[in-house]
């Protein structure tokens, strides 16, 4: 056999990469630009930091300031359908027109306030249901034996990989008047006529809990899995009932997981649009839906921007709580 057949794929790959690197670093444009950058104090490190930093600054942070700016604009007919805040008058004066009317309108029309209150309420209640169902599931998976644990985890993650829209749509087929659930209930004679479930708040809660349940279970599981079982045993040995041991040891230790899971459910649920639109009633006042209609149906871009800014203000505290947790959890330590 030829000797090169002993070279593994990995080695061949790394040889290839080395060759590529050498060719690139010895090429004239590379050396030229390298020298140019170096004389200006720009190192490779700076460039590596700059790529994600600039991307997120440009496409995540800057847009919020544009939303803020346009929330103070006026609507007008035309493209784009809002007025400019700043205008040069006779090329020397900068005219600034600040229109707080969008915010005043939000305050005056009780519809918006109601939408905000009911969004927070729906999100909070859904979070509690997710927690009530997700905690025992996460705990059960964490306590299952090792071979089962991976299968169960896979089953939790699997729906997460399938289309969210399709999963919400699935509930329409189940909850409709002539849907699966009503058919089963009527076939067994439990009810005589179909229960109206679709386009009610009930359907909306089901949809949100269903869609966000994996987001609750996964952080809870990763927390519960790390618990030291001997702590519980010690508590029980010292005379605590299992319930008391759970309440005094396991539950407090799992609080970071509870907070992370709750924030992962609560924050997106407040601004949820698809689920209220497909499962909720026409009168369901969710702020995500109000924003969508304001933007797409009324073409009121400044109004929609003002709604978005208010929604951000509502969510700023939960987002900061989530960030603090996330920073601690995922290698947030700057070791060097």
């Amino acid at each position: 056999m030829a000797p090169q057949s002993y070279v593994t794929l990995g080695e061949r790959l790394s040889n290839g990469i080395e060759l590529l690197l050498r060719t690139v670093t010895h090429s004239t444009p590379y050396r030229w630009s390298n020298r140019m950058l170096r004389t200006r104090g720009v190192t490779g490190r700076t460039i590596v930091i700059a790529v994600p930093w600039v991307w997120l600054l440009l496409f995540f942070l800057v847009p919020f300031f544009i939303v803020l700016k346009i929330s103070f604009a006026d609507t007008r007919l035309g493209q784009p359908p809002y007025t400019d805040l700043f205008q040069w008058v006779e090329n020397q004066y900068l005219q600034v027109r600040f229109n707080a009317g969008n915010y005043l309108f939000l305050l005056q029309d009780s519809l918006y306030a109601q939408a905000f209150v009911s969004s927070v309420k729906v999100a909070a209640i859904s979070t509690i249901f997710c927690l009530a169902l997700g905690y025992p599931m996460a705990y059960g998976i964490a306590r299952a034996n090792a071979s089962w644990r991976n299968v169960l985890l896979l089953l939790i993650i699997l729906p997460f990989w399938t289309s969210f829209l399709v999963r919400v749509y699935a509930w329409i087929g189940l909850l409709r008047n002539n849907g699966v659930i009503n058919n089963v209930l009527m076939a067994f004679g439990i009810v005589d006529e179909p229960i109206v479930m679709l386009q009610t708040n009930f359907a909306m809660y089901i949809g949100i809990v269903y869609s966000y349940l994996p987001f609750m279970i996964l952080p809870l599981y990763s927390n519960l899995e790390k618990h030291d079982q001997t702590l519980i045993e010690a508590a029980v040995d010292l005379g605590a009932t299992p319930l008391r041991a759970f309440l005094r040891v396991t539950l407090p230790l799992s609080m970071p997981g509870v907070i992370a899971g709750s924030m992962l459910v609560f924050i997106p649920a407040v601004g949820e649009f698809v689920i209220p639109r497909l499962l909720g009633g026409t009168d369901s006042l969710m702020i995500g839906r109000v924003l969508w209609d304001e933007f797409f149906s009324n073409r009121n871009w400044p109004g929609a921007s003002a709604v978005a800014i208010c929604l951000l203000l509502v969510l700023v505290v939960p987002i900061m709580i989530f960030q603090r947790y996330q920073l601690r959890e995922v290698g947030g330590d700057a070791r060097k």
Binding site: F60, W161, Y169, P214, P268
Partner: protein, 287 residues
Amino acid sequence: MNRNRSMFLLSALVFGFAFLYIPILSVILYSFNESRLVTVWGGFSLKWYGELLGDRQMLQGVWLSLRIAAVTATGAVIVGTLAGLVLARFGRFRGRTLLSGMVTAPLVMPDVITGLSLLLLFVAFAPLPFVPDQRGFATIAIAHITLTLSYVTVVVQSRLATMDDSLEEAAMDLGARPTKVFLLITLPIIAPAIVSGWLLAFTLSLDDLVIASFAAGPSTNTLPMMIFSKVRLGVTPEINALATLMVSVVAIFVVIAGVLMARQEKARQRDVQLAKAGDGSVTGAPA
């Protein structure tokens, strides 16, 4: 007492999994239903699959969404891996707190806010050179990369956090330049995280309705937009067939990936055990 607890946990698991899977199973079942009515079981049929394959518009939507998802996943993996590397390995630098904040916030930011803000950005920048005047493929891909790169970053960052950096240090000590260390040492080790990040970004992009609706121009129709406009009018068996196809493709992928990963993990554990067992006998072993 302990028995009661197990029973409670078991029933929670059974109920929870039934809750998660019954809707998906019902969609799969009814995709084979001959009758248009969901109420009636009209016998087994592949009629709706045929209808789906004949729907040119729908297939165009599928193709567009797949292309956007592939571009998104690739872009998100590049930017997201750099962000993960920077956050996990670069120590302190100016703007670190801002970067980690900007990475975690999109994970929870409601879609309507992200979508609206990106659209307003595209509109505001439209007069500038190098910016596409028509919203469509490019703007949706940019929006999706921004949305999904956080997921890639989190996956890569946590992989790097659990990984020992002594290998990288050893390579540096032996004189390898940082780029070489990254390509030859770090990249192969975080490859599984990058692959799962790519797949995650791909699925998220394929699935997104809200952000794409904001970022798309009037003539662009991605698959989720088509599903949404059909579903708004009621249940259509064609969507059942499409959903079944999507679920089966994903299920096959995830199960294969799961089996491969489990096998790899087992092999790794076996190697670790062999290495441990070998430690004691090294002195006695023939050279």
